[in-house]
């Protein structure tokens, strides 16, 4: 799957947790979940779980700790999909 396709699906996943709609509409690889999208840190756990369900993968803690922005999250997903 291309990183663009993954990012498009990730965008749908993060949507319900976003508190800054303007930054969400202008979502880019650099968008940070907490600083830009103003997602509550407890909801980052939900995003990780939603990603696991959506892509049928399991994310370990070492990967989870990197998932604070769009670009690294897409990378983590892409690597997991390749390893499947």
């Amino acid at each position: 799957m291309t990183s663009e396709a993954i990012q498009a699906r990730l965008k749908q996943i993060v949507k319900p947790y976003v508190n800054n709609q303007e930054n969400f509409e202008n979502l880019s690889p650099e968008s940070n979940f907490i600083n830009d999208l103003e997602i509550n840190s407890a909801n980052l756990v939900d995003i990780v779980l939603d990603v696991e369900d959506e892509f049928d993968i399991r994310i370990e803690n070492d990967d989870m700790e990197k998932m604070t922005d769009v670009e690294t999250t897409v990378e983590v997903i892409q690597n997991k999909l390749k390893a499947k």
Partner: protein, 173 residues
């Protein structure tokens, strides 16, 4: 070292379901999960641990110039009583005090120097600091290179930890 965190329990109830499958396993050790599930109020027990970990994380981030990461699993909580507890991270341990009410759970790292806290909005907080320290003008919020908040007073800067969730806001300084 300073760091604080508040959770608005009504808002948390709308936003998060900690009983969602695999949720607790992502953020808590098996011992912590056992403690949560055997508590009289498991949800409140969870948020106590969560705010303890977040406060410790903020303090360590400031102390060690850590890049922002997200790994609550790396922090281990122990309760001493209903108010005091500790958080372990790598080889370090911090003592944390938690205040629990009907409406919110608030934790803060115990620090001899920065042992003040204020509950309320930014403007009221800045006014309180001005009066407390007899400053000629209102202090200002600025940020360190890492983006951590500090207070610019007349002739010096002083660390401040801010937390905001739902209708509650608190400052440690």
């Amino acid at each position: 070292m300073i760091g604080n965190d508040i959770v608005d329990l009504a808002k948390a109830k709308e936003e998060s379901n900690i009983f969602r499958p695999r949720y607790l396993q992502k953020v808590s050790s098996p011992e912590e999960i056992e403690r949560i599930l055997s508590a009289t109020d498991p949800v409140k027990c969870f948020w106590r641990m969560w705010t303890m970990k977040e406060s410790a994380y903020k303090a360590f981030q400031r102390q060690f110039d850590l890049k922002p990461v997200f790994n609550p699993f790396a922090f281990t909580c122990l309760f001493e009583d209903s108010e005091f507890g500790t958080v372990d991270f790598r080889d370090h341990q911090l003592a944390i005090k938690t205040l629990q009410t009907e409406d919110f759970v608030y934790s803060e790292v115990l620090d001899n120097e920065h042992n003040h806290n204020f509950f309320g909005g930014s403007c009221d907080f800045l006014l309180k600091v001005k009066n407390q320290l007899n400053l000629p003008s209102l202090p200002k919020f600025t940020k360190t290179e890492l983006g951590l908040p500090v207070l610019s007073l007349a002739d010096k800067i002083s660390p401040v930890s801010k937390t905001h969730h739902g209708k509650f806001q608190a400052f440690q300084y």
